[in-house]
């Protein structure tokens, strides 16, 4: 049986070689690309503990379906191969190898999760296969020297923290800041980014910081300590459950600091409602994509196109889910890179194009937020706008802020 399979494989390989051999004069191709097709691999947790994120994979597939219906990219259809890893790192390795070695995809796009992407980080770079726009906010995806084949997309946690720092330096340089952070890589990414953003002033401005453990039942003791420090500004680096506790405790203690809440915990239903909507008024966070539920964008051209796309390609999709906005925008970024690559669809050229996006306007990003990369800048989206909670929804305030470098 194996022999027969091997025969079929080699016959298929010969057929491919015959079919594509002469065509290579027209375009330059690496595995996964041809005159008619571009194969893109994707790994998403469609099952398991993080299966809520599976929505993103479905949205991206729907986006590429639309691209194909419109004739593809430079005449080539996108063959989007999305596989499930259940958010389990060993499975991610197996699936990445399947995509690269078996399916022979040109690149892997938007694989989701920090531990899962960590598991394939070295593999992708050893194989020299683009590992593009990974779906995680960790700071480690932007190391072009060490990992020239891996790139993130969304604002990284340290970058987001730097935005709050820039805002403070510009608007409240004498702030006394208290910080609550989760004691792990995620929390430290934010904390270090924030301190770095404040630069020399960090020592005088940050007057208290308190860690908590994921296993802690409550963060009330930390909040009481932070309030006692006399701070007038509070940076809340917490995951949803603790964010809700912190918001409520701050309010109940009668503490009224300028309250920054990290983007991780901005869900109105998941965090602010449990904390109490009235207690959440005045919270500040960052936004980089347009919110589909925000009436401000009702007549926005991008948003209208998005609604039409949702109706046609994802009729069962949830229009209030930010994942569908995210998937659309990130897939549009990928489309842009492939368009720019033209007929030179080698892996090296894909990375080159991905690392030379200048001022690219991607649909559904807030006006002023653009995608910018360079050979030494693997952080595509770095700017964001602050948004304030008005008791019902997040309302954008002020201009787009970029972290100071």
């Amino acid at each position: 049986m194996l022999n027969r399979r091997n025969f079929v494989v080699s016959a298929a390989a010969m057929a491919i070689a015959l079919a594509y051999g002469p065509a290579s004069a027209a375009g330059k191709y690496d595995p996964g690309a041809s005159d008619t097709e571009i194969k893109i691999g994707n790994i998403n947790p469609y099952s398991g503990p993080a299966s809520a994120y599976g929505t993103i994979g479905k949205a991206i597939a729907a986006y590429f379906k639309m691209v194909n219906d419109k004739g593809g990219i430079n005449g080539r259809k996108i063959n989007f191969i999305s596989v499930d890893d259940s958010y389990s790192p060993p499975k991610t390795v197996e699936q990445a190898r399947k995509l690269v070695e078996q399916e022979k995809v040109l690149l892997i796009f938007q694989s989701l999760g920090t531990p899962t992407n960590s598991a394939i980080h070295k593999y992708m770079n050893a194989k020299k296969v683009p590992h593009l726009f990974v779906a995680t906010g960790a700071g480690k995806w932007g190391q072009p020297k060490k990992y020239p084949w891996t790139m993130g997309w969304q604002p990284a946690y340290p970058g987001e923290a730097k935005i709050y720092a820039s805002y403070l330096l510009d608007n409240k340089p004498d702030a006394k800041v208290a910080i609550l952070y989760q004691n792990d890589d995620y929390g430290k990414d934010y904390l270090n980014g924030f301190l770095e953003g404040l630069g020399a002033k960090a020592k005088s401005m940050v007057i208290a910081k308190e860690p908590y453990e994921v296993a802690d039942p409550t963060v009330d003791p930390q909040i009481i300590k932070l309030k006692a420090s006399g701070a007038d500004t509070f940076f809340n680096i917490t995951t949803p459950k603790f964010a809700a506790q912190a918001i409520r405790k701050v309010h109940d203690l009668g503490w009224q600091p300028l309250h920054f809440l990290n983007n991780v915990s901005t869900s109105v239903g998941g965090v602010l409602k449990p904390a109490g909507l009235d207690k959440s008024v005045g919270l500040i966070t960052t936004q980089y994509t347009k919110d589909a539920t925000d009436p401000q964008w009702t007549n926005d051209a991008d948003m209208k196109a998005w609604h039409a796309w949702m109706d046609k390609y994802l009729p069962d999709g949830d229009k209030s889910s930010s994942f569908n906005v995210y998937g659309y925008a990130v897939a549009a970024t990928m489309e842009e890179v492939l368009k720019k690559a033209g007929d030179n669809l080698t892996r090296a050229n894909i990375m080159k194009q991905a690392a030379s996006l200048k001022n690219v306007k991607v649909p559904l990003l807030i006006p002023g937020v653009t995608v910018d990369t360079g050979p030494n800048d693997f952080y595509p989206i770095e700017c964001a706008r602050l948004a304030k909670f008005d008791g019902a929804k997040w309302v954008g305030v002020g201009d787009v802020i970029c972290p100071k470098k």
């Binding site: 091997n6 499930d84 531990p115 960590s118």
Partner: protein, 342 residues
């Protein structure tokens, strides 16, 4: 435990007797030789990616054998084997990453650490039977990922980020790929461990384990030190699973707490039941089940992969109630009987 468990027990006994017969027949010898030759040739026939998958089959096969020694031969339940697998994997990763040990030294270390851990866990577990033991081991497996994230261990475990390790090259300047080398390395370790298990289970010790499984009171009356045997079995079972964990870590090149969730324990259990409870060769089929059934399920339906997985499990249980190995044996027995009749 009622009539039902008696009948499954006797079934188990039959199977175990068949699987671990004291001496190998000529047929069994030729079967083993054929399997080993097939195993040696396999990497030459398939791609590196497939070889990697078959390496995982061997790794999980060893882990399933570990659980089989405990459950199939000794009748103790465990939902905690992901914990021992994790300990083995982290032992390998930390030794290679922090202290730059060669990969092969990590296997004995992982084995010894897991033997001790399993033995120690086995001592209090002695007081627990059946479902209660399952519950205690379940606790072990859900607690493990959190321990691995524990802050004060982060220096070694790497916390949530885990540890990345480098894949070993083939030694002696052999011109084979890393995947092929790792496959052969794992294959040899597996043969060694399977031989040891067979040797352990075919004689006095094996009979004692089975006696404890089938009737602990009678076993004690016959002078078997049930407490010692049960804890030791837990230790040996953990040793096997730990070595599998170390091999798995080397093959995957990465360990993180999220790799060793409770679901891994369930996967090993499923592999054992479908491969064949109380059977040494069945454990390899268990490894095949663990690696390939989820992939098959995903191929059937991506949207409802777990529904497809569940359906496949039910079909297996319905058509092969004694597992794949039991199915093969029964099929063979039926064939020879028919041949004799004609």
């Amino acid at each position: 435990m009622g009539v039902q468990s008696q009948s499954t027990n006797s079934r188990l006994r039959d199977l175990a007797a068949l699987a671990s017969g004291a001496k190998l027949s000529r047929l069994q010898w030729s079967g083993i030789v054929a399997a080993v030759v097939f195993g040696l040739l396999l990497p030459l026939l398939v791609s590196d990616y497939r070889t990697f998958q078959f390496t995982l089959v061997l790794v999980y096969g060893i882990a399933v054998l570990g659980l089989n020694i405990l459950t199939g031969f000794n009748g103790q339940f465990s939902l905690g084997h992901s914990a021992f697998y994790a300990i083995g994997a982290y032992t390998a990763a930390i030794m290679m990453d922090q202290w730059e040990f060669a990969y092969y030294w990590t296997l004995p270390a992982a084995g010894v650490i897991c033997l001790v851990a399993g033995f120690l866990f086995g001592l209090p577990a002695l007081r627990l039977e059946g479902l209660y033991l399952a519950l205690a081991t379940f606790a072990l497996s859900i607690a493990t990922p959190q321990f691995l994230k524990y802050d004060h261990l982060e220096k070694w475990t790497g916390g949530v980020q885990g540890v990345t390790i480098i894949k070993p090259d083939a030694p002696f300047g052999l011109q084979i790929s890393q995947d092929n080398w790792l496959y052969y390395f794992t294959f040899v370790v597996m043969l060694l461990l399977f031989f040891c298990a067979w040797n352990l289970l075919r004689g006095r010790t094996g009979r004692a384990l089975k006696a404890i499984r089938d009737n602990p009171i009678a076993a004690r009356a016959m002078g078997i030190n049930t407490a010692l045997y049960k804890s030791l079995t837990f230790g040996v079972s953990a040793l096997y699973t730990g070595v599998a964990g170390a091999l798995g870590a080397i093959a995957i090149q990465f360990v993180a707490p999220d790799s060793f969730t409770f679901f891994l324990s369930v996967a090993i259990l499923v592999g054992m039941v479908i491969g064949g409870i109380g059977s040494i060769p069945g454990s390899i089929f268990g490894g095949i089940v663990i690696v390939f059934i989820p992939n098959l399920a995903e191929k059937i339906s991506q949207a409802a992969a777990w529904a497809a997985y569940g359906t496949l499990l039910i079909l297996f249980m319905y058509f092969m109630p004694l597992g794949i190995w039991g199915f093969i044996r029964m099929g063979y027995a039926r064939l020879t009987r028919r041949r004799k009749a004609t």
